[in-house]
Symmetry: C2
Subunit: 346 residues, 2 copies
């Protein structure tokens, strides 16, 4: 058996507070609602009520109050998945920080991308009179906002609604500028030739498409062309295999732009096995700035996905002064480490 | 401006359902509460009420109901930190899965280990009449359960209360057996000499102390002694530095037991630089089974921290049939990969 009673300890009532302070129930209520000024309650009475409330450990029944005010000061973060990306924790962390700063609590729920689960989950949150919603995706993508959320306060985190004119506020990472930054970093180091992309920008993933567009645009401004693409998926073993094969087939890269740090991890392994040193013979730059980036040798220069900031900004937008519908693109800051150098002399 | 009204769409009332079905409010209420049998309500009436409820998209106001029943079907997961360990997401994932299976929703909150923040957070959850709590730590450790939680349904996740007789149920990973498993794996491969621990088992961390105890016990059963400890903290660069130094100083290990995968990552880098091949010259085994383990070359054999199972089990225990106070130690399964082999012939 639990060492816990079935019922929680009895909480002090407003009436008990009023009796202890020797005032009426409504006077106590006005004091505790901070309405002593407009109700012309004396400072002495106010202090007596506050002292009584403190002595009785009085806390207002927020649920009863919310039946009157329709505000529960709770928000819900609904995500397709919480766990697939180990860095989801940071987005939740940032969301929590902003929620707490606004005196709100945070429900979380995940749908596994299943519309039936999603509908049920939203209904459950609405039953608990959740005030507002963060609708999140772990990978940046286009979504259809579920019908029951359309008329409610919602901010989209890491996702976008496809429509002629925006209906909600979306918070997404600025992937296009991140691509520009990657290319600019290599150009500034003196690279002009033998710049390859490692990854698969053609598989419908929003981030990779935008990154590639930014890379090409920035290279074009300098009259430089991407030398080619080493095609692989998002995982180290795929990148390792692809880069090994390319090197065996005679590829002679001066710089690799890897679509994320896991891809860079596999590329590092392949370059090392082939005896190519980083960054003296081959520069490597990447995206995400996961923990991995700082652990590699040499440490990897990477353009950060600001998970924490995305979460924080979404909840700030939701609870702050009302915002116009539209898209907020958060800067992806570059973390310069030791994997980019000037090109080797031929 | 938001395209959202300040008030959520009006929900259908019980009275509207009753009127549409042509029954009294209390009859509608009994039907929707599933009490048609004890209230002797005809099947025909029952179906009429259900149809009316469906047509009006009626959902009971759970908050109003909870004022009567004192049950909100919400639980809160209170953690010292959500984000410091990127795998916290998995524990939340497991907790969510179990909560949903029991028809509950999950609040999360973090305290940063600050008792003042914690007290405030718990008060906020109690204001929303949360039914039950998971009190979680990201690193296994002893805690003092906050006073307001002591008389309520609580399960401890990844932490323990120090007391003569247990007062609550704790769910923790079985670190001691994990230590036994690591040692047994090396013994079974034929290792008897040159087995070193890499990490710091003396810094008060519960996991490392228990792991070391298990390792020593199992080695002792085979008459084998740990050859020594290569001291470093929990991060790759510290492990890299420590192993590099030890090898330069003449250390000739046959097997390294690394206290986690990040330590193993640094040890791999140091062994590679020193030209020692894994596993032919040096076997490596580790704990945690983070994603890293499968990405290393050769892939790392590691004993898994079952984050998802810990979270799932904690919530199952909280919401399932009542459990005796005590400690549940969840198995840490070994993931055998390619970093352990028989010792090199001298």
């Amino acid at each position: 058996m639990w060492n816990t009673p079935d019922m929680p300890p009895q909480r002090a009532t407003l009436l008990q507070v009023a009796q202890r302070a020797g005032v009426s129930r409504s006077t106590a209520s006005f004091v505790l609602a901070g309405r002593h000024q407009d109700m012309r309650i004396s400072e002495e009475t106010r202090l007596r009520v506050l002292r009584a409330a403190q002595e009785l450990d009085y806390r207002p029944n927020l649920m009863a109050r919310s039946l009157r005010t329709k505000v529960t000061k709770t928000i819900a973060l609904i995500s397709d998945t919480i766990a697939s990306d180990p860095y989801a924790g940071r987005a939740i962390h940032g969301s929590l920080a902003a929620a707490v700063a606004h005196g709100h609590l945070l429900f979380i729920g995940e749908t596994d991308g299943d519309p039936v689960v999603e509908e049920r989950l939203i209904a459950d949150f609405l039953d608990r009179q959740v005030d507002a919603f963060v609708y999140a995706s772990m990978f940046t993508r286009y979504v259809r906002l579920p019908r029951p959320l359309r008329e409610r306060p919602v901010v989209l985190l890491n996702c976008l609604v496809r429509s002629a004119r925006p209906t909600h506020r979306s918070i997404v990472p600025d992937e296009l500028t991140a691509g520009l930054t990657a290319a600019r970093t290599l150009l500034d180091a003196g690279h002009r030739k033998g710049i390859y992309l490692v990854g698969n920008p053609g598989n419908g993933v929003f981030a990779s498409r935008e990154r590639l567009t930014g890379i090409k645009e920035e290279l074009a401004t300098a009259g430089v062309r991407l030398a080619g693409i080493v095609d692989c998926n998002w995982w180290p073993d795929s990148a390792y295999d692809a880069v090994c094969r390319a090197l065996r087939d005679g590829l002679d890269p001066k710089a690799l732009i890897c679509l994320n740090d896991r891809v860079a991890f596999g590329a590092y392994q392949a370059l090392r096995e082939a005896g190519r040193s980083i960054p003296d013979q081959v520069s490597v730059i990447s995206f995400d700035d996961s923990e991995l980036a700082a652990w590699l040798r040499p440490q990897l220069t990477s353009i950060a996905l600001p998970h924490y900031e995305l979460g924080r900004h979404a909840v700030e937008t939701l609870l702050g002064p009302s915002a116009e519908p539209g898209i907020t693109r958060l800067t992806m800051p570059i973390r310069r480490r030791h994997s980019v150098a000037k090109p080797a002399v031929e």
